[in-house]
Amino acid sequence: MANEVNLNLDPRTFMNIIPERRAAIEAAPDTPLPTDFPLNRLMRAFHPEHQHLVIEAVETHDGDAKSYTLVPDRENGTDSLAYFSAGQYVSVLLEIGGSKLYKPYSIRSSPADAQRRRYILTVKRSEGGFASPYILDTWKKGRRVTITGPEGNFTYEPLRDAKHIVGLAGGSGITPFYSLARAITDGTEDCDLTLLYGSRMADGILLKDEFDAVCAECGSVKVIHILSDESRSGFEHGFITAELIKKYAPAGDFSLFVCGPQAMYDFVDREINKLELPPRRVRHELFGQIGNPERYPGYPPDHVGKTFTLTVHIRAEQRQFSCSASESLLVALERAGIAALSRCRSGECGFCHSRLISGEVYIPPDKDKRREADEKYGYIHPCMSFPVSDVALELSMK
């Protein structure tokens, strides 16, 4: 078989390649190699591992909420703030009692503000919450905080979304829309926003004055307030229904962006279904941490209220503690003082990806956002996994 093809080529080229290689290496300089590269720097402008910030100002709002203006903490090595797209969040590193956790908050300020070296986070007290009362009660001007880089996909994408966004917001779900509204007024994003914003009473609407100012400044942003607990002229009354969406949505193509608490999703998703929009025209922000998994379909009966043993393998070490059936494994880890890595706390981002060594967990079916092969190889997202037996978990730490 070999040598059957006749070729007028010189076989010595093959033998010459080694001397050529030696000569090329010998001729090269022995100067130090570059330690950084332009595109790695570009990447870090969006994705720093951590950002160290100082609270420059605190503003108190009606409705038991505060806004924190955060600026770079140069003494701790942060000189500028990461760029982001309106709708993204950062996770705030918190130590509350013996718990260590990452809690996501949408950036409320505009992307252009980040270039002016400030973020604003607006935090509203959630009843029975863990992180928001701590922040509202302890964060003061001058305090140092550590946050992650921006994450999340609740952003306007011109190649995907309609040019007109209809936003449905409830409670603290308003914050990503304020960032988007600001991005529209300052020219960062080129789209229209009609926002249906549900609150309880006219007094105490979070960021109302701020939105009034945006609407006065820019015709591309409209806000309709819907009050559940009060009838008042100039406001819609009730909840965000299919009829209300139809009333205010534009005649042509539009994308629905939805952000609010779980109770709002439960109601509003039924209304959205009535509109029979294609799936690509409806986008939800992360719904956030959930408890009480028995509310979701397929939860094994008789597990409510039970307690199990969680064994955690970290490198060569092991720890054991108890965990409750009603709480995610991530919360159980955090209660034990383990700073497990997490970002979205909604089962979606995969940051807490960990190996289930043994035991069984329940994952609400519509919230199982793992990769297909994860199931095959026994990987779970602890933030959306609830123990239904004793569980052993291998955790990756940093």
Binding site: M1, A2, V5, L7, L9, D10, P11, T13, F14, M15, I17, E20, R21, A24, I25, A27, A28, P29, D30, T31, P32, L33, P34, T35, F37, P38, L39, N40, L42, M43, L93, E95, K100, Q115, N153, E157, P158, L159, R160, P278, P279, R280, I314, R315, A316, E317, Q318, I338, A339, L341, G350, H353, K369, R371, E372, A373, Y377, S396, M397, K398
Partner: protein
């Protein structure tokens, strides 16, 4: 209960320097080659630890989810896997290591759509006979030269088998492998001209070049020919659950054989003393000693950022400075709300350009706006269950030299990537007459900066060092041992002997693992 857990809050430094732990083999980086090397050493009973800075294995061999879609980030087609009846190297390696993954064959070789004046649009089949016949139909008179191309590729394969057995006898090379000697280190274009292959047939045969990032006037014949031979003869394969499945499968082999894998563990230093690497140090201050360290991290990073300056051999600096690293990718991942049937898509991979000339294609990759070489894949064609009924996954890839991205700033980054993505989508729509822009349900765009984030390579390089001339596959293989300037430190990956690509890095990882085993168990 054991305390002292390493967290972001409690540094391991508090344990003190004398707490160094030790392994037979420490592998740094869980890319394809790092995973395979660690699986090999663990399987032979060596105490093995694989360290990875990310939370999942694989590097580019991964997946990511958006909405109801799970995207493949990088694997277009794996060469050298083969069928159960006619297995290739990679299938054999996976079988030996016990990697239980399911790979699916890609039916056709490719569709090439050249839209310029000398344009053509044809679907090339797999099977050497079919391929030659189709090419003869398109370019009459090409059959003999194309047949000879595949014969030479077979000769190259046999010679590589001989070279793999140890130090070659020059006499045997001259007599048994003369054609190999003639063609191996020649650029592909030189050999094809010597075969009197018509220009158009060359262009069609060379369509695959973009998978490797080296234009045909530089690409050494040896590697290109065996790659094309494998694709056409054995078909390409893709994993059912995206390449994340392969990476988790390899990780499982490491664990099943007693090895350890630590994620979220960044190595910041390779410890070298008296010309020998004896371990690594992690970001949280843990010192890990090893009899053998294997780096899946590119030498530019190791000797640029991760070794004490005084301990770097001059030869390592010279070799790294002699090499160039400058190629990355731009990818647009699309989840569409229509099925391939509704859209009229029949092809798994379409290569689109306005010119068939690979040198010209390559020149245009130095600019953002002139580059119009786009590969569009529809995963559903050969992996029908990859997305829900009534949907499809499309994915566009363009290669760029990093200099093309010099003018991109954080301020214009998002607008730039959207502009390029729009252009790639429109180019596909025009070239194949399929409308996709009105049914985009999910979109994600990866730029060289994205690859820099996940791979931490210089400028997001996906193809390590430019593999041509003196730094092509064969010269790397033949100098592998001579150029080991730090004892106890082996490199594996795209910067390794087999150069880049999925099958190359699995094979290179396997061979590097075996070298480590030989060094540790072979009586040294």
């Amino acid at each position: 209960m054991v305390g002292g857990i390493a967290t972001e809050f409690v540094s391991v430094k508090e344990r003190g320097e004398n707490m160094a732990i030790s392994y037979d083999v420490v592998v740094v980086g869980a890319g394809n080659a790092g995973l395979t090397a660690a699986a090999v050493t663990a399987k032979t009973g060596l105490k093995t630890l694989l360290l990875e800075r990310h939370n999942i294995p694989g590097g580019s061999a991964s997946s990511f989810r958006r909405g109801r879609f799970e995207f493949e980030p990088s694997l277009h087609e794996m060469a050298g896997y083969g069928s159960a009846e006619n297995p290739g190297d990679v299938r054999n390696i996976f079988a030996e290591l016990g990697v239980g993954v399911e790979l699916l064959p890609v039916k056709d070789a490719f569709r090439a759509v050249i839209t310029g004046p000398d344009g053509y649009d044809l679907v090339m089949p797999t099977g050497i006979g079919n391929f030659v016949r189709m090419l003869e139909q398109e370019v009459p008179g090409s059959a003999e030269s194309v047949t000879n191309f595949f014969k030479l590729a077979g000769d190259v394969g046999m010679a590589l088998g001989y070279l793999g057995k140890g130090k070659p006898d020059p006499q045997i090379l001259q007599t048994e492998h003369l054609n190999f000697m003639k063609v191996a280190s020649q650029p592909v274009s030189v050999v094809l001209n010597a075969l009197n292959m018509p220009k158009k047939a060359q262009h069609i045969l060379l369509t695959y070049w973009a998978y490797m990032g080296t234009p045909i006037s530089e690409f050494a014949f040896a590697l290109y020919s065996i790659m094309v031979h494998r694709y056409v003869d054995m078909k390409a394969y893709i994993p059912k659950m995206r390449s994340h499945e392969i990476s988790l499968g390899l990780e499982k082999c490491i664990r099943d054989n007693g090895g350890e894998v630590w994620f979220n563990t960044e190595v910041v230093e390779f410890l070298i003393r008296d010309g020998r690497c004896y371990g690594v140090r992690t970001k949280d201050g843990l010192e890990i000693h090893a009899r053998q360290v294997i780096s899946n991290v590119i030498p530019h990073r190791v000797f640029g950022n991760m070794v004490d300056k005084a301990a770097i051999p001059v030869q390592e600096l010279k070799r790294a400075n002699a090499r160039s690293v400058k190629f990355s990718a731009f990818c647009v991942y699309l989840g569409l709300s229509k099925s391939p049937e509704e859209l009229g898509i029949k092809d798994y991979s379409v290569f689109i350009s306005s010119t068939p000339d690979s040198d010209e294609q390559r020149r245009r990759m130095r600019t953002l706006d002139k580059n119009d070489f786009t590969i569009m894949n529809c995963l559903n064609i050969d992996n029908p269950g990859c997305s829900p009924d009534g949907t499809s996954i499309l994915w566009a890839t363009q290669l760029y030299e990093t200099e093309a991205w010099e003018g991109v700033t954080p301020e214009n980054y998002k607008a730039t990537k959207n502009r390029l993505a729009k252009k790639a989508i429109e180019q596909y729509e025009t070239a194949v007459g399929v409308k996709i822009s009105d049914c985009i349900e999910e979109i994600s765009i990866a730029t060289p900066a994205t690859f820099a984030r996940y791979l931490d390579t210089p400028d997001g390089a996906i193809y390590a060092y430019h593999a041509s001339g003196w730094d092509a596959m064969l010269p790397r293989i033949m100098t592998m041992r001579d150029e080991q300037w730090v004892q106890g430190l082996l490199f594996c990956g795209g910067h390794g002997t087999r150069t880049i690509g999925y099958s190359s890095t699995y094979i290179n990882g396997y061979q590097t693992g075996q070298m480590a085993v030989l060094d540790l168990k072979g009586g040294h």
